[in-house]
Symmetry: C2
Subunit: 206 residues, 2 copies
């Protein structure tokens, strides 16, 4: 791609560093900004810079937060004895949206993946183990993705907490609500039969 | 979407102002920036701001340029008597990539579209008409998109320059190279027959 302006080229190059944004999309986005009032670009730049420079993580659960202790961890109405372990802050948002969980979270910041150079030390695992050791935790719910990396991470953490008095569980795997049986993959269908729930329970939402 | 951080929320909101970027994609992009070194965010913000604040447009063809007269307009090897009229600077880049055009460009900045509130006065039309009036132009090639708005814009400009001694042409419409005939739409196929080219000419690239 040949650019008639160095400024434009630099902007497109930086924009195309973002995941899933190729050079052509980057050019489209940058030209869009050019057609908008200058304020839009300065608001965007300012928002990104402030976010990157000033954002903090909750000292307890490692969720993104503007204060030391996030709104969930500092909420006394939530059950601090039940911890849901997730990879990412997006997972926290997804679970919060369901309105089904009244405990607190622990954000690992990823999963163990030797291929990507992510070992246990890069993740927020030790602080979780410390919480379990302190004896304040009754249940740990593992809500990682159902992949080899997710399972490895689950297992690694489980090994470290199994000797303590804490209930470990994983979120249920099964056929999605609204999905047809015939299109489900074998493993999921198999697990859904293995982990079947009593009929009366399946109607309840809580 | 519930955010645990105001800084994050603002960044996602600003990012999702961009065309084709929804809230979920914006969140993914912003969280990606959070995982990268701070420099990446500051480079991106800086590049966007500089571009928006400092970018200039060629005084002659209205292409984006860092100097008053763009590299194409100031290139003496190019034929200044042939002007290719395009909507957008992306079209300039696309035509330049073909290596088939040795004239200069005139970037309108859009096309006449009453629905979007774009009239002839919002476009760089008068400066094009002035160039024709000055008598320095031998040929005007219209290379706008083949839509109602594109045709309207073509026609509007043509009306204003038809009394001057200048050749007007439009780029050829036809079956794309590599395309199967049976999948072509009727209008395109019809035009490709109407505007057929002598057989010997069809082999030449220039």
């Amino acid at each position: 791609m040949e650019f008639s302006s160095k400024l434009l080229e630099t902007a497109v190059n930086e924009m195309s560093q973002l995941p899933g944004i190729g050079k052509r999309t980057a050019l489209r986005l940058v030209l869009h900004l050019l057609k908008q009032p200058k304020e839009q670009t300065s608001f965007l730049s300012q928002a990104l810079t402030s976010m990157r420079e000033e954002v903090r993580f909750c000292v307890s659960c490692h969720n993104i937060s503007d204060v030391d202790l996030c709104a969930i961890c500092s909420n006394e109405k939530r059950d601090h004895q039940i911890i849901c372990v997730v990879e990412d802050i997006r997972d926290v948002m997804a679970i919060e949206n369901t309105g089904q969980f009244r405990g607190i979270y622990h954000v690992l910041g990823g999963k163990i993946s030797p291929i990507d150079g992510v070992g246990p030390n890069q993740l927020n695992i030790s602080s979780l183990v410390e919480k379990v050791k302190s004896g304040e935790v009754v249940e740990i719910i593992f809500a990682l993705s159902s992949t080899i990396e997710g399972d490895t991470t689950n297992f690694y953490i489980y090994k470290q907490i199994q000797d303590y008095e804490v209930i470990s569980s994983t979120i249920a795997r099964g056929i999605s609500v609204g999905d047809e049986l015939e299109y489900a993959d074998e493993v999921t269908l198999g697990r859904s039969i293995l982990h079947r729930v009593p009929f009366e329970k399946s109607f309840k939402n809580n």
